[in-house]
Symmetry: C2
Subunit: 221 residues, 2 copies
């Protein structure tokens, strides 16, 4: 499913749009391929358009003056990113980088804005996308500020169980160091917490596979 039309037709952003509109949208897409580790944009760059992941994975992140990194989102196939400048007219608020070899769809700003103005359903879908993202941010702030690292890890494991539709075990889709950056911790701390949770009989860790042994006690970390 590496085909542009497939990706946009199945994305939440373009969901429910008539075929002729999808064709319009497809016409303005610029495809880009980037290898693992490639920067896609930097905080402060002018936003000339937004992106959608066709295949692969992209992280959106902030960095501190001393190089520590906080991941804001990890986006996979069908998910748009970099929309803030399109609608607010300001530069990108954060950096984007490919976590894997990635196929990107780029939507140039001016053309896309014309489409949005002409299509209330598309505008409405975009509003839904941004609203969902606000909700996610609210949860992330809650996690960072009101929970300790074990609680944040537990949340993430439950999120993966949901996503992977498996109550027994989950597969980490990113390296543990990146997970630490997502949870607002260091890799050392995360490693120690995996250990502790194992010792307490909550989980079993085998490389990138985490077996969840005690849902109840994991939930109230």
């Amino acid at each position: 499913m590496n085909n542009t039309r497939e990706i946009i037709a199945h994305s939440l952003l373009f969901d429910g749009l008539p075929p002729e509109q999808l064709a319009e949208i497809e016409k303005l897409v610029i495809k880009k391929h980037v290898v693992k580790g490639t920067p896609i944009f930097f905080e402060g760059d002018p936003g000339l358009g937004f992106y959608m992941v066709a295949s692969g994975k992209v992280k959106i992140f902030k960095t501190s003056f001393d190089g520590k990194e906080q991941i804001l989102h990890i986006f996979g196939p069908g998910e748009p990113f970099g929309e803030v400048p399109v609608f607010h007219g300001t530069p990108f608020p954060a950096n984007a980088e490919a976590l894997t070899s990635t196929e990107l769809l780029f939507f140039p700003r001016a053309e896309f804005v014309d489409l949005i103005i002409a299509s209330p359903s598309l505008a409405f879908n975009m509003l839904a996308v941004l609203a969902l993202r606000l909700r996610r941010f609210a949860t992330q702030i809650e996690n960072l500020s009101l929970k300790e690292v074990p609680g944040r890890l537990a949340s993430y494991l439950f999120f993966l169980m949901e996503e992977q539709n498996n109550q027994e075990w989950v597969t980490l889709d990113i390296p543990k160091g990146q997970l630490a950056n997502l949870l607002g911790a260091t890799s050392e701390t995360l490693s120690r917490i995996f250990n502790k949770m194992h010792d307490e009989g909550l989980i079993r860790v085998e490389g990138k596979t985490i077996f969840v042994l005690d849902h109840q006690r994991l939930r109230d970390r």
Copy 2:
């Protein structure tokens, strides 16, 4: 300026709309008055519409199981809040409470959605509002995760200097305890940091007035 038409006409959300559309919008507004401390909605409540502050101040916040509070936003006159459920159809992601005696405008969901669908400019304004909010959240996550409390306080002081258009001193518009909840700290810690910054000659604190004595050194906290 406690009049509905004045408020909506000067808000960013309804900026640039023709008078006849403003009249339409005004018609569906329901005015509500709440005293200081009144809950406006709770996390998890179904969102039957969104609000705009006409006068006063409202905080949007999350609470932890043990009662600690993290403020996500503080909204003043002309600022809308509670839009997430309108566009994403899910319950409110956080709580809202009046920080002062407050005049609110309520926009019922269904009627407002009709207006948005009929008006590309209104849809576009709303997209800009949500995009700005995403940017703010990204900054807040950066502050919480990548800066220590003194750095977060410094950011907030610079934000107030900008807002109050004064390079010499700022007036805290909220109690220090609430400021602590906004910065992700306790009031004890915040108090100690005010002390330390005073001892270091960065600021002078007189009740709710903070004199900024050394911009340069305050900036790199």
